[in-house]
Amino acid sequence: MPNQPEAKNWPRWFDPRSRSLGTFGFILNRITALALTLYLILHLIALGQLAQGPAAYDGFIALVKNPLFKLGELLVIAAGVIHGLNGIRIALNSFGIGVRRQRSMFVILMALAVLCIAFFGWKMFMEG
């Protein structure tokens, strides 16, 4: 029968239509978790360059100094900050803290995340 819960329905997790703020938190946590997992894999591949000698590693470092890679690094920081702060909200809620205030907590923590991302962006692109 159609309409049953099934694992293959997972793309619907990312559909924000007709959803409330809580689902936006849910979606953000999933996207950032996937992004961080992907980054971890790329990071391990990059570290693997060390095994191929100093020349290969230096070449790789020269490549990642490209502004596009810097933007990528900022996205990694953004994912970490958003996932971490949202995770704190969920952990507190699971201990029964602030459940009735979860929407306000989400808005405040995401505002804090935007400030953090702006700060790191400034540091990386204007000063770095």
Partner: protein
């Protein structure tokens, strides 16, 4: 009723066993202060007698008429047409998510009702225990000699399960309404059997804090708060058990 008339197109989900689902459009002249269920009934009465849907009380007590209106879970007997569209607009009506469709807007809620029954859900509970702790308790009517009771809030409409993203991918997940019921029963009479029903990966720990259940609940049950409170109790018990010697447990027992 305002006496004004709106022309509204209702796009209604149609599904017969073995056939592909589709949406059928019906244009109706309606009073904007009528309810969505009134329009569905009129479609059935005057346009298409093959349309199937569930309804009973018409005043948000039975929980039978839960559907998705423009994608959002609603109890259609208390959702006015004015609140979801405008004159000349369209209203899309779909069955609840996460329940198998039997026909058109009718879904199979049998499994859900069985889980509610297993939790020992009382639809009537003592007045002081029917409220959530953060709500003010309704004052008992002093002239009543018997202990006052009222309907516990959950009307078993299934809107919370339809809205829950975790329930979307896991048919084993017992869902917000059942977890809220277990919490209600646990607060009245704590037991290990109730904890066992909730404390597993397809119970309390499957919830991913989207809070959609509380958003769509038409009865103010606040399932999300109840799930988090139950988690708090279980985590508290686990932490306590670390600092309690097994012998003390036996003595206390």
């Amino acid at each position: 009723m305002t006496g004004s008339t709106w022309q509204v197109t209702f796009k209604v989900y149609r599904q017969r066993t073995g056939e592909k689902p589709s949406h059928q459009s019906y244009s109706l002249d309606v009073d904007p202060d009528e309810y969505i269920l009134d329009a569905v009934e009129r479609i059935w009465a005057f346009h298409d007698r093959t349309l199937t849907y569930r309804h009973a009380c018409h005043h948000s007590t039975c929980g039978a008429c839960g559907m998705r209106v423009n994608g959002r879970e609603k109890l259609t007997c208390i959702t006015t047409i004015r609140s979801v569209t405008r004159n000349g607009g369209t209203v899309r009506i779909d069955p609840l998510r996460n329940f198998p469709v039997i026909s058109d807007l009718v879904v199979d809620m049998g499994n859900f009702f069985l889980r509610m029954e297993k939790s020992g859900f009382d639809s009537v509970v003592p007045l002081d225990k029917a409220n959530l702790p953060y709500e003010s308790t309704i004052t008992r009517v002093s002239e009543h000699k018997h202990e006052a009771e009222r309907l516990a809030d959950c009307i078993e409409c299934g809107l919370c399960i339809s809205a829950c993203p975790a329930a979307n991918t896991d048919h084993e997940y017992i869902g917000p309404a059942v977890l809220a019921s277990i919490h209600l029963m646990y607060t009245q009479s704590p037991s290990q059997a109730l904890i066992d029903q909730a404390d597993h990966h397809t119970g309390l720990w499957r919830c991913h804090s989207a809070y959609e259940c509380t958003q769509v609940c038409p009865s103010g049950v606040d399932p999300a708060w109840r799930i988090m409170d139950m988690r708090k109790k279980i985590i508290g018990n686990r932490i306590k058990s670390i600092f309690t010697r097994p012998n003390e447990d036996k003595k206390n027992a």
